[in-house]
Each structure stands twice: as C-alpha cells, then as structure tokens.
C-alpha cells in the first residue's frame, strides 16, 4: 500500500451498524468470529480473576534490594544538613543516597514533561510536603523503612504558599528561587480565541451570565500505586526496568536521556498495570533513584509507593479555578463564551500533555454548541504543593472544559427560565455542519448531538421527573428532586504529529501483526493497557479485518524490546490511534494474502476478492474457489509465490490525520434531603456515542467505571492542604473514593456516529463518563435548589456543603421540626393485644 491516507476513505464504507448501533451481520458486521461489534468476553480476565496477574510488586529477583524514600514533613524548607550515618549503621542497610550522591552521576535533577527541571532528591530546598529528600537501599523492605527513620535532616522551615491565588500575591514567598529569571511564582499566561470579537458579542448581547467555579484538585488514585524493579546487567551494560508505565516506549527514550544509558541498552517492561488513569504517564523521582541504585550497586532494586506517597507526591489532576461567562439572546441562542482560569501547577511545571498545549485541550470549552465567538485565558502558578496536572481519565483538560461549558449552559437556562434540554437543543452544532470548525480552532469530525439527547431524555422519563420536581416544591416536601443534563463533546485520540508531541516525539502509534504458519497470529501494539481490555478489543479488530477467529489472536504490549514504538495509553488515544494502526496493518496483511491466494487459486490477483461475511478469499464470480486465512498462512510459509517474500506479517505506524470527537448526553436525577444535605441518585442515564463500537460489553464496563469516578469527583474526592502546606487529603481516610455503596444503578444507551477519518470509524470511549458525568451531577443538585435561587454548588458536594447551600437558599429543614421516631409512644402506638 502506498500511504496511510489512502486507507482512510475505506472507513466510510466498510463498517455498517444497524440503526441503534448494534452489529448487523447483513451489513458486514458481527459474523460470530468475535469481530467488530461483538461482546466478546475479555481474554485478560482469566488471569486476573484467578489471581494470576503479574504486577510490578509481584516481581521478585534474586538478590533484589528495596528502596525507601525519606520525605520532607515540611512544605517549604531549606535543607541545612542531611546526616545519614545512623541509617548506615542499621543492620541490612546497603546504601543511603542524597542529592550529592546523585549529582556525581549527573542524576540530581530530571526534566519534567513540560521542560521544567525537578529535583530527583532535594538539592537545596524542599518545595512541597513529602518531597523526596533521601533514599535508603536495604536488603529488606522493613529494614529500608527502619533506615529511613534514622536519616536526620536539619530543616530551616520557610513560609509556604498553597493556593494559586496566594502564590501570585506580590509578597508571596518565592518558591523557585533556584531559577535565574524567576522573580515570582508565575509560570505562564495562555490564551485562545478572538478576544475582540468575543468582547463585541458580549457587549451586544441581550443576556450575559457569569459563574465562578473550582475544579478541585483530584488524584487518579489507581489501586496499584507507582513503582518499579530496576535491574542493571553489568555483563550486557543493559538496564531492564519493570515499570508501572502507561507509555513504555516514551519512558524508554526519557530514561535513556536522563540516565545517559544508550536507548538500545534500556528495556522497559510494563507488566499488568492495576489502573493508571494518567497517574502513570510521568516519570517520578523514585524510578530514577531505583535505577541509579541498581547501576551503582549492580543488584536489582525495587521501589513501590505506599498509598499516601502516591496521593501526596505523584501527578494530581485538575486544580483549575475557573470563571465562565456566556452571552446569549433572549431566546437562549448562545453567541459567545468567555473564560478565565487560574491554574495551580504545584512546585514544578510537570503537567502531562502535548507540549504545544500548555493548557491541554481546555480550548474545547465551546463544547457541543455552535458559538459565534469565544475567548479563553489562563494563568498558571507555582505553589508549595505536589507537582502534577495529569490527564486523570481525561484527554488533557477536556474534563475541566466540559465542566465549564455544561455548568454555564445550566446557569444560562436558569437566568432565562428555560428548560435546560431545550436550550441545548437550540444551540447544538447540527449534523450537517460537520466537519465543523469551532471558534477556538478545533475541527470536529462528526456528531449528532440532538439524537443522543433525545434518547437520554426518553430513557430517563424526563417529563415525569420534571412533574415530580414541581409537585415536591408545591408540597414543600422534605426531599427535593433535581434533574441534571450534560451534553458533552470530547476531543480525543492525540494526535496528529503536526500538532501533538510528548517531549518532542510525535503522537503516532503502531501495530505489528505476524500470522503464524498454522494460521493464528500475534499482534504487538505500542500502547499499554491498564485494564481497558486491549488484549480483547485489538484482537477483535484483527479478527474483523482478516476473517480470523478472535480466539486465534494474541495481543502483546508493554515490552519495549519486542513491541513497536508507540506513545502509550492515555487521553482515550488507544483505539483512535493504535486501533487505526491495527486496522491498517491488518489490511496490509490482507493485501498480501490476496497475492498468495491468487497464486494458490491460479487466478490474477485483481480477480481475488475478500468476503467480509465469510472471511474467505475467493475468485471473483466463483465463490467456491476460496481459501481461508489459515490456508493462506500455511501457503505463505510453505508455498509462497515468487512475487512475494515468504511469511505473512505487516507493521503500521499511524499518524492520525485528525482528532476524534466522541460525545454523549447524560441525565442524572437526584433527591436532595433538606434535613441532612445528602444526595441520593434516583436515575443515572448515560447515552454515549463513540462512533463504531468494537466490543459493546467492554464499552459498557468502561462507562460504568468512569461514571463511578465521576461520582467520586462530584461528591467525594478532594486533595486538600492546610495553610502550612500539610496535605490533609492525602490518604484513603481523607481522600474518599466511591465504593459500591455510593454507586447507583447505571442505565446506559448509545448512538453511533462513525468518525469519517478513522479506518474503523471508532472514536474512543474510556474517558467520556468521567468527563461527562460531573457537570450532570452538579447540574442536578443545583437544579433541586434552583427555584430558591441557587446557581452553583462547588464539588465535592459532601452533605455538609450541600446543607450549607440549602441553608443559603433558605431551603434547609431543621431536624427538630420533623417527627421524632417513636415506635411505642402515644395511644396509637401501643401494640395491640393478641
């Protein structure tokens, strides 16, 4: 095949689904071989549910040492002296490392993904609580901990600053005083859109609304924390790093650059990963320390975080303080969007997003709406908090953008006293407008927003709950009903090499298919699963494209010595990019298979047709003269045509021509208790459109998990700090994750609007629910109090916060006014005689 772009038009014609998006065998989809659209059971689950997974912490090597990191109890402090002598006396301690030791190997600092420089171990000044100060390497994990206790650090405590707002005050303590040209805590200003045009739209508008909202600091909090086993082989001058990595190849390149070890002497193995959610994209100091220790001591070294270390020091997410504004006509037509953001980046600029996008894809903040003009500005600041800004189950700040626009639409609906469903309908980008260029420069691929909203409204029985809401208000009921809608659009699948790179490396991805002589195949991909089900869904793409049974395909990933180079899994990019690479590589194999079939069937190659339904190759007009892929695989090795090389394999590196734009409509119905501030979910309806669907069951699982995390975001999770920079939300006692108790029954639905430029018309879905659900939930709670004037409730909407908002609106109900539970009291309460 000549070039990848030649394959793109195929996407429009090859796959068809029925009206509801299900697999349709009549229209070349769902042939019972486990191809596109079939709910194949996950291949990886056998080992997970039988306890045979292999995670980093399961890895044990002979002679392996353990690394424990000594962390600062202070958020801002100068280090006068580190005394390691008592730690070295602990029986079993092999080494204690400080910045000085690392400096001897030029490893005292490391680059962040945003070209800042972070201390691996603190050189001079601690900049956030729990920052890495020293490392103890010992024979045993417990001994390492005992040793860490004995490292004496003399700190000179400095005043910390923990919020972006305070950090930008003129008299704020300077955090990054080691940087020559840094005179304050300001990192950068960024803006997007046409300010002048937007201001004009606002001046001319009938109605403008404004709301301030905070997207609080969250942590991805994967159940498996970050860690590694580093193993330097002095015989081969090669280091193998078993790493909790969402992007093994990118990490290999960075490891090589930081350590000076040539890249072909670095092997990164990312084994089974217990959740990543963006947390396992950056490189952390612990990895570098463990690698340095392994090289120096010539023994394997394991470093594995504890829970609190994970939450308090590794990449957090969000922490955007946003102001949103809409300009509209009296009948609810949105003319302009304006937003201003104050971003807390922590002590280093270590956000994990494509380097040309300092605010990620936040500029998708016009959402699903056809808006004339938009302008956004953002200021980022250093603070004495952990560095981060990772895309927590999110495509680089899309979550913040969607929250902003979906909240603002609700605010506008209230201002105009319009139904929030109706106002959305009036502003949606219409199906015929695609491809649509947004006011902030995005090129939306496809969408049918109203269809998804209508489906969600119907599923949720919207009119019934509006009626019930009115009835409860009229009756002054103890529990109020609120209905929240979010009709979100995401931008995922980063991304085209011309605009998207991580540390300079373009964000393509790759697939390598090798069909064996016996007709089964191995697919290797450059992305790395953390629970998404790649071993199943990518096999389904191959099954579909080659007419093989899904059982006969093994997917491998996570080992840089054997897999093709890729940028990894985050930002819902695996299906849009590596999924495309897989389809294109499979089609290359198919082309070669045609040539082999022609040889075997003694026909001209152009007379060989492939039938998607049967999965067989046959001579045009003679369906009986056919071969299966298994027969062709045998021929490829045993009787290959002279015109071709032996073997049957293909590689594709796929540079996506554009991003993909999944969307959906979520409707949440809540009951708010006026007495306690508790919020109960009555209904939770999620209609998603991720284009063509590979595995509906895997998609549904993704949606369920993401909705749970959306509920955590809206109701429970917050990494908090006190004014001294102590992280008061840094463990599972204080950072609350949702459990089965907090999760309602989800009702999922879907529509299908294929991406026109993607080889299989898919868009990516893993992050839609975390992105789309928080605004729906907040809109629902606000909606319950809207009749009393409430326009916003901050997340997390804990009962006490909801109660405060109820009280501000005059809706709170004093517990004393309600009937006291009294099972016996009163004449009527007397138990009757038998």
């Amino acid at each position: 095949m000549s070039s990848e772009t030649d394959d793109i038009p195929e996407a429009e014609t090859e796959y068809q689904h029925d009206e509801d998006g299900g697999p349709d065998p009549e229209k070349h989809c769902g042939h019972g071989r486990g191809g596109m659209g079939e709910g194949v059971k996950r291949k990886e689950d056998k080992r997970f549910i039988t306890g045979r997974g292999n995670y980093v912490d399961d890895i044990k090597k002979p002679g392996m040492l353990h690394c424990e990191i000594v962390r600062s109890p202070h958020a801002h402090a100068r280090i006068n002296e580190i005394d390691t002598s008592r730690a070295m006396e602990v029986d079993g301690v092999v080494a204690v490392l400080t910045a000085e030791d690392l400096a001897a190997h030029e490893l005292a600092t490391m680059p962040t993904l945003m070209d800042d420089t972070q201390d691996v171990l603190v050189n001079d000044k601690v900049k956030f609580q729990s920052q890495e100060v020293a490392a103890v390497i010992a024979e045993d994990r417990y001994v390492a901990k005992d040793g860490a206790e004995k490292v004496a650090v003399d700190y000179e405590v400095l005043d910390p600053v923990v919020t972006a707002e305070d950090a930008l005050e003129a008299d704020a303590p300077l955090i990054r005083d080691e940087l020559d040209d840094q005179e304050d805590n300001h990192i950068f200003d960024w803006d997007v859109g046409d300010k002048e045009a937007t201001d004009k739209v606002f001046e001319a508008a009938d109605v403008t609304v404004s709301e301030q909202m905070e997207y609080q600091r969250l942590h991805p909090a994967p159940i498996e924390t970050c860690g590694c086993v580093t193993d330097w082989d002095p015989g081969k001058d090669k280091i193998t790093v078993h790493l909790t990595s969402q992007a093994p190849h990118a990490h290999r390149t960075l490891f090589s650059q930081v350590s000076g070890i040539p890249e072909h002497k670095v092997r990164i193995v990312s084994p089974d990963i217990g959740g990543g959610f963006g947390n396992k994209v950056p490189i952390y100091p612990g990895y570098v320390v463990a690698a340095a220790a392994s090289v120096v001591l010539e023994r394997p070294v394991k470093w594995m975080e504890e829970r609190s270390e994970n939450i308090q020091t590794t990449g957090f997410a969000r922490d955007y303080d946003m102001t949103g504004e809409l300009a509209a006509t009296e009948d609810g037509i949105i003319k302009g969007v304006r937003t201003d953001v104050l971003a807390n980046h922590g002590a280093y600029n270590a956000v994990a997003q494509p380097s040309k996008f300092p605010a990620g894809f936040f500029n998708i903040f016009t959402g699903s709406y056809d808006v004339e003009a938009a302008y956004g500005s953002l200021t980022a600041a250093f603070t004495n908090t952990a560095p981060g800004g990772v895309a927590y189950r999110c495509s680089f700040r899309v979550t913040e953008a969607v929250y902003l626009i979906e909240r603002m639409v609700k605010v506008l609906a209230q201002e105009l006293d319009m139904d929030p469903a109706e106002i959305r309908r009036r502003n949606f980008i219409q199906p015929e407008q695609f491809p649509y260029e947004s006011a902030t420069g995005w090129n939306y691929d496809s969408g049918d927003y109203e269809k998804a909203l209508d489906k969600a409204l119907e599923m949720a029985d919207y009119d019934h709950y509006r009626e019930e809401q009115r009835r409860r208000i009229e009756n002054d009921a103890d529990k109020l009903i609120g209905i929240g809608i979010s009709s979100f659009t995401e931008v995922v699948g980063a991304g085209p090499g011309k605009s998207c790179d991580i540390a300079g490396i373009e964000m393509f991805d790759s697939a390598d298919i090798r069909v064996n002589p016996t007709g089964n195949a191995v697919l290797r991909v450059g992305v790395q699963t953390q629970g998404q089900g790649h071993e199943t869904t990518f096999a389904q793409i191959v099954a579909e494209e080659l007419g093989m049974d899904v059982e006969n395909i093994t997917v491998e990933h996570g080992d840089t010595d054997t897999d093709p180079y890729g940028l990894g899994t985050y930002g819902s990019r695996s299906t849009p990019v590596a999924g495309a690479a897989t389809a294109v590589a499979a089609r290359k194999v198919r082309d070669k298979a045609k040539s082999i079939a022609a040889n075997e069937l003694e026909a001209a190659e152009e007379d060989i047709e492939w039938d998607r339904g049967s999965g067989e190759f046959h001579v045009a007009g003679a369906p009986d003269r056919s071969l299966t892929i298994t027969e062709i695989a045998a021929s490829a090795y045993m009787n290959h045509p002279g015109s071709e090389e032996p073997g049957l394999e293909a590689v594709n590196y796929y540079d996506p021509p554009e991003m993909t734009y999944p969307f959906g409509s979520y409707i949440v119905v809540v009951e708010v208790d006026r007495e306690t501030g508790e919020v109960d979910f009555e209904r939770f309806v999620a209609v998603d459109d991720c284009g063509n669907r590979i595995n509906p069951m895997v998609i549904e699982g993704q949606i369920h998990g993401g909705l749970a995390q959306g509920i955590g975001t809206a109701m429970m999770e917050h990494v908090t700090y006190d004014e001294n920079g102590n992280c008061t939300g840094g463990d599972f006692m204080n950072y609350l994750l949702p459990t089965a108790n907090e999760i309602p029954n989800f009702e999922t639905g879907y529509t299908v609007t294929p991406s026109p430029h993607h080889p299989i018309g898919a868009k990516g879905v893993g992050e839609s629910p975390t992105v789309g659900s928080p605004p729906a939930i907040v809109n629902a709670v606000v909606d319950a109090m809207a009749h009393a004037g409430t326009t916003h409730v901050e997340m997390p909407m804990t009962p006490d916060r909801v109660w405060e908002n109820l009280a501000e609106a005059g809706l709170e109900r004093d517990p004393a006014e309600t009937v006291v539970f009294d099972p016996v009291g009163g004449d009527e309460g007397e138990p009757a005689d038998d």
């Binding site: 600062s72 109890p73 202070h74 206790e149 001294n724 102590n726 008061t728 006692m733």
Partner: protein, 198 residues
C-alpha cells in the same frame, strides 16, 4: 496549633508542685508514651542510650539525687516520646531546652522539637504555678504553641486535639497522684530540695 489550660491541685502547695514538676523522672513517669528524659551531654546518643530501670522518685528517692537531676536552665534534654494518633504511632526523638526557670514565681518555659516517621514538630511551652486563691493548693497554668508538620499534621485538628488533650489530662492527674504521695511530713524534704536547686 495552640494548646493551653489550667489545673487545680487542692492538696498540693506550689512549692511541692514545683519540686515534683522539676524532676525529669517524675515528669517522665506521668507522661504517657514518654520513655525517657535525659540531659543531652557528650555521652548521649539516640541509638546507644540505655534506659535506667526503676529509678526512684519522691518520697522514696534520696533528696540529693532528686535535686541533682532536676531541670536546669539552658540545659538541653533528650526525650523519646511515642504518640499514637489514629493509625500512626511514631516515636519522636525530641530535644528540649529549658529556657527559663524562675524559682521565686515558679515559672518554667521550654522550647523543643522532634521528628519521627515523616512527622515533625517544634514547640514553645511554659507553666506557671500560682498559689490557689481560696485554699492551700496550687493552680497550674500551662501553654504550648506547637507547629506540627508531616504525617500527623495531615490528620488534622479533629484527630490531633483529642490526643493532645488526653495526654495532658493524664499527665496532670498522674502527677497529682505523685505529689499527694509525698506526705505532709515530707514537706521538709521538698523544701530541702528547693534549697539545693540552681
């Protein structure tokens, strides 16, 4: 964080309270979780210090011994203190310096700091023993200003305050028991010890 309070000891005159509160061993015995308080001299080492067992306090102890080991102004002391806060039970290696001892007004102030298991604190504390206004006992006023960092501070005031209050309450009820153990006839002993202070 600031902690402060007052205790009344009905049976114990200020002079006697002063002597007992000047004895590091008596203080150690009343302070739950405190394993030792000892002068930080050249011989002291955190890993090498050997705890003396069954050290006598008043009334059994020898007056000269009690006077000799009493807190001294500007002396630095090492204290090993284990505090359980929630699930965290760090052993704090603490250094305390007695900044002031006023033998006339019965005022003692101290500064200290300690660290353990990713937690650290620094504090300024003091106490002032007043004669009881309507009795022969004493009224002890005490205060502490503490800066707490790290793991314990992360638990927040709602967890720390009850623990601090419990330690202080236990301390004063225990020290009161120690003081009342010293019979009236022994008041000569406490006077003698006071004479030997400084």
């Amino acid at each position: 964080m600031n902690f402060e309070g007052e205790f009344e000891l009905d049976e114990v005159p200020p002079e006697k309270a002063w002597v007992v509160l000047s004895d590091p061993i008596a203080v150690r015995n009343s302070l739950k979780g405190c394993q030792y308080i000892t002068p930080m001299d050249d011989e002291f080492g955190w890993d090498t210090y050997e705890l003396e067992e069954d050290v006598e306090t008043l009334p059994e102890a020898d007056a000269e011994v009690v006077a000799a080991r009493a807190f001294r102004e500007r002396q630095e002391y090492a204290a090993l203190m284990q505090v359980g806060v929630g699930s965290v039970k760090p052993k704090f290696e603490t250094t305390v310096t007695i900044d002031e001892r006023d033998e006339e007004e019965f005022v003692m102030t101290a500064t200290g700091s300690g660290s353990a298991s990713g937690s650290s604190f620094s504090m300024e504390s003091g106490m002032h023993i007043h004669p009881q206004e309507d009795g022969d006992g004493s009224r002890i006023e005490w205060w502490t200003e503490a800066d707490i960092s790290g793991r314990i501070a992360q638990l927040g005031g709602r967890v720390i305050n009850p623990v601090a209050n419990k330690i202080v309450n236990n301390f004063f009820s225990d020290i009161e028991a120690q003081m009342t153990d010293i019979e009236d006839t022994d008041s000569g002993v406490t006077d003698r010890i006071r004479g030997m202070f400084g």
